[in-house]
Symmetry: C2
Subunit: 570 residues, 2 copies
Amino acid sequence: MPKRVVIIGAVALGPKVAARIKRLDPSTEVTLLDRDKLISYGGCGIPYYVGGDVADVEGLRSTSAHILRDEIFFRNAKGVAVHHKEVTAIDRKNKTVTTVSVSDGKEEIIEYDQLVIATGASPFIPPLEGVDLPGVTPLTNLHQAQLVKDMISQGRVEKAVVIGGGAIGLEIAEALTDLWGIETTLVEMMDQLMPMAFGKDMSLPIENHMKEKDVKLILGERVTGIVGDKKTGVTAVETTAGTLPCELVILSVGARPNSELAKDAGLAIGALGGIIVNSCMKTSDPNIYAGGDCVEVPHLVSGQSVHMPLGSLANRQGRIIGTNICGGCDQLHGAVGTFCLKIFDLGIARAGLTLKQAKAAGFDAVQAIVVQSDRAHFYPEMELMYIKLIADRRTRKVLGIEGIGSAGDAVKSRIDSVAVLLKHGVTVEEISALEVGYAPPFASAMDIINNAGNTLENTIDGSHDPIDVMDFLQEFKNNNQRVLDVRSDAQTGPFVEKYKERWIGIPQEELINRMDEVPKDEPLYLLCGSGIRSYEVQLVLRRNGITNNKNIMGGIGMLKLTDPDFAPEE
Amino acid sequence: MPKRVVIIGAVALGPKVAARIKRLDPSTEVTLLDRDKLISYGGCGIPYYVGGDVADVEGLRSTSAHILRDEIFFRNAKGVAVHHKEVTAIDRKNKTVTTVSVSDGKEEIIEYDQLVIATGASPFIPPLEGVDLPGVTPLTNLHQAQLVKDMISQGRVEKAVVIGGGAIGLEIAEALTDLWGIETTLVEMMDQLMPMAFGKDMSLPIENHMKEKDVKLILGERVTGIVGDKKTGVTAVETTAGTLPCELVILSVGARPNSELAKDAGLAIGALGGIIVNSCMKTSDPNIYAGGDCVEVPHLVSGQSVHMPLGSLANRQGRIIGTNICGGCDQLHGAVGTFCLKIFDLGIARAGLTLKQAKAAGFDAVQAIVVQSDRAHFYPEMELMYIKLIADRRTRKVLGIEGIGSAGDAVKSRIDSVAVLLKHGVTVEEISALEVGYAPPFASAMDIINNAGNTLENTIDGSHDPIDVMDFLQEFKNNNQRVLDVRSDAQTGPFVEKYKERWIGIPQEELINRMDEVPKDEPLYLLCGSGIRSYEVQLVLRRNGITNNKNIMGGIGMLKLTDPDFAPEE
């Protein structure tokens, strides 16, 4: 008798497992079960469907060769049976699942030799009054997506509120604003966007960019209720910062693993509610695998168990499960949370731990921010790129990386090349000498990633005494310390004019001869375009006994991005 | 007395060492010696200067803040003395160097505590008649660059010949053709471009692209002489494939390490003529360091000693030497030869060993080529990207990677994220599950790099029986085997029309029901858009006892790139 594999859930991981099994061992009988008719789609594409980049839902349900991934496709092209059934129970002893047909309600017991749980995650629905009103919805499946796009395309939405400032919230806010011109407000409880993924210093530039693109942001405030009536739908969202009239509310406040079935069957469940799996993606039952959004994975930097609902992770795990079911021994020891995002004209990416997370995990974490052009500085077209590198002071091991820039592929490139090393426990020194490719149209000879390593080394070794731009802005507003700006006179001029005696301009190359103009008995902030020349100046000052100063990390580049109003108008 | 460090050579590594030392230990007395007045420039920018992207030579000599890096800059901003002197001998016993002033010929003995040899490399001048004619020149320093640009901008060049098909030869060919419209012919002795960096299968698309951009390529032929007279200059290049009239000849046939000084001083020299250094960048004399284009480094995949004249490597080594001179213990254990290049609209990148190099180094090397869109397939804008992954069959360790695509940053991103892992000896399985960032505007959920790992795994495990496009083209022309094309009827149609009975079209999803149409007793080539569906078809055929077939790696995508004339006209 052929081996029977039953897979519960047919969105991302499920179909991947099925396809892999049929490739490795076509004699295996594979059954995919899902309560939804719409299966095997690119959920990450939903914001692009809503925003208009993807014309219809079929675009997200098709292969790259434009073939619809429906039941017929799975049967004919993959040899996999798909049943439109909900699974209500797992009987581990008898190795069966109880299913209920969605079309006729009939119950059926299906036997398995090996079972795969790919039940995904459900959007968290905040316990708010009015959360069930028409026009209030999460945006995580195709039905919701279709509903929202219909509302919009019928001209029924002038104002929208997105609740939650995570990656998906941001993508949706862009989708609503960019093509449809909907007046969109994003409300986030924390005082920054994407608090789980970025430090606040890196989130500020993202916030400024979104504001520039006409997304309204309300941060550090809570939604207290949703107003409207069952017939006409939502009319407003009430927050601690006032009432926001709207016709559409998107809930994107995170997802919870769908682990009830597993839990009811007595499988081990983690503290975050996800199914616990080992590195072979096996649950606590040797005949049951699980993967995708319904499991927890070890974080390869912190060692903690985390829930990472990422489509890319689900796909990779799916292949591993398929291999192992067919007798292989593929392993995935965890993840570092690499991810990237395009928000309007900004590419952003990250991996590992944020500074805050690293400190919470017990590391003596320290960070460096480097600003550098994304091409050789003599190359005609270029934009600034912003990279933050985080490491442990004692072991010098790299803990995390964050990046922002207008050339998204270039940002992703830097983040990925450090992300893949995090599990190998590399030190800052390895990043300083990281052998990434160089050609003037793509990078500087000393790549920004090398310079991030260099700067962090210098900071750890104590030769660099930096201050974050955010802290600088705070302190500059609240005290009377002065800035020593070592850029050219032409660049410094407008700042001296704006900030008068609080701004001292001495070009770096003139410093040695103008040392008497440097105030010796007061604390100073050192500034240049990117933080590199002002670092050199810090060393020169130190050599001359002037040590009471801080170098502004990322220089004017980071300053302009963090607070566009700080620089004089050009 | 302060420590005295003398550095011979002030182009890339020398200045980097000097700056690093002064940052770490300002009390050190650092002297930079160079026989050229023009120091500290971005040599990799020369093609961009010649091609017009960089307006003047100063652009390559300036910092990112547009400050000229001349003697005065080094004195004032860095505290480093620069002397315009040639070093004629090193006296290791007395720790001195003998120098000759370039301006007045005066000899001077300079003492050092630590010496850094940064003498770089010299372009190889082939022993050809006429190689010394006016208008025949390498293009590796600013003087040559200025000379060539002057010739061009004065309208004195209608036709040019570039000798050598390495990276620099390609960049120069683009520079001459693109802006200036010079009729440019590139002659390369080997039968492919960049034979040291790419397999022939990956170089063919680059060749086709260059031809499309009007660069004439003569491959597999030798230059036999250069014709002209001392007064009017070069008039033609003679090759085994005929005479090429021209007014400009650029020699770019490689570089040789400038190690004579070191050799005369009795330092260890490698088989390739480069200075031998340890992982701290020390030569066989503990008081002498060396780095940059004049040294050999261990290849971290093959273990062999290699000469890698790369600006990026020189910069990273420079910092390490500076650190170590100041008492640190930074190490660089070798390199994997990561590099990238933009040629017209094509971004290309590579790292590690080519298949040929891997086999020569004793590996049981095997490769996979994957073609995939550089964005999620449902994202509106996208282009195909081509990745080749090479691994050892027995250990499954990754040995090399090559990539091509129109989004250069995206190609670099994939190559870099594997390049940095090569020294860690990772397996193909790690690449299959590599945790790189995913968002629809930047990648597919299963990144092309993951799919490259998958495909190579399948090939090593024997479930995938591929054929290179190059081999397929050869065989298709020389025998009567047929192609089974599993794309849609619309896509297959024109091919069936062109190749008649040699082309069989059965869409993948119809295959199971049309199995009787598949020839069973003859060898077949399987084809789809990228090689993935045809791989699935290969498995289905195998299941049905049909095993005499090969899957064309990279499918139609790779086929079109390799031989643009193969596909029917659209």
